[in-house]
């Protein structure tokens, strides 16, 4: 999948976008743990972040994600538009 980092998560990860390989079926929380393994500084925002999977919000919980190659998963720190 393609992981997109925004705002503070991009600063912490030091990258804005990267491709990573993950199991096709994985819970949101497991995916987060996989991402934190690559970018440990992201633990700083662990409890105030959500995903957007194919542009739909997903909480970091036990929800099972079915991912396909090329799917976008975005790391969404607290938003502040407007």
């Amino acid at each position: 999948v393609v992981v997109l980092y925004f705002a503070r998560s991009a600063e912490l990860a030091g990258v804005r976008t990267e491709s990573i390989s993950v199991p096709q079926q994985i819970t949101a929380l497991q995916l987060w743990e996989e991402i934190v393994r690559r970018h440990s500084r992201l633990t700083a925002i662990q409890d105030q972040v959500v995903f957007a999977v194919r542009q739909e919000y997903v909480l970091l919980g036990d929800q099972l994600l079915v991912l396909h190659s090329g799917d976008e998963v975005a790391i969404i720190p607290p938003i502040s538009g407007g």
């Binding site: 705002a7 542009q55 607290p78 538009g81 407007g82």
Partner: protein, 155 residues
């Protein structure tokens, strides 16, 4: 009147250009509408006593547009008489006193456009993936809308 059967339109724009209230209001004006309400979010020169130099916005642009479209759909369900909706959000660097967001909504009578504009900005702050970085003289801060449910800010 034929005019009132014209298609309702949503105008959504996210880019680095300076925003204009005249431009946005011209998009939504309609001869069958007696009311147009606008909200303009501008950059403030201070936060908690700190002097703000400027702001920088970034967006997950395709999703932000999709979320704004969802808000437009919600508005049309809640206030079916609403005619046109325009939501322009500026990205990148925004100097003090310039607009970061302009929302304009027209409707035949005023209550719908007034209430829909309020709903639109409140919901935008809660759901649209856009981020604001306030740049002070010697530091910066990523802001968090209090409407964002996964933020940890005291509410």
């Amino acid at each position: 009147m034929n005019e009132s059967k014209d298609e309702q339109k949503d105008f959504i724009k996210l880019d680095n250009e300076k925003l204009s209230t005249d431009e946005v209001s011209k998009l939504v004006i309609s001869p069958c509408c007696g009311a147009m309400s606008l909200f303009v979010g501008t950059t403030r020169n201070n936060f908690d006593g700190k002097k703000v130099i400027h702001l920088e916005y970034e967006a997950y642009a395709p999703m932000a547009e999709a979320e704004i479209k969802k808000i437009c759909r919600d508005i049309r369900q809640k206030w079916p008489s609403v005619k046109h909706i325009a939501v322009h959000h500026r990205l990148g660097l925004v100097p003090i006193s310039e607009a970061s967001v302009i929302i304009a909504i027209s409707s035949p009578h005023r209550v719908e456009s007034l209430d829909a504009v309020k709903y639109c900005i409140n919901t935008l702050k809660a759901t649209v993936p856009i981020w604001k970085k306030e740049i002070y003289e010697e530091e910066y801060s990523w802001k968090e809308n209090k409407e964002c449910f996964w933020a940890n800010t005291e509410k």
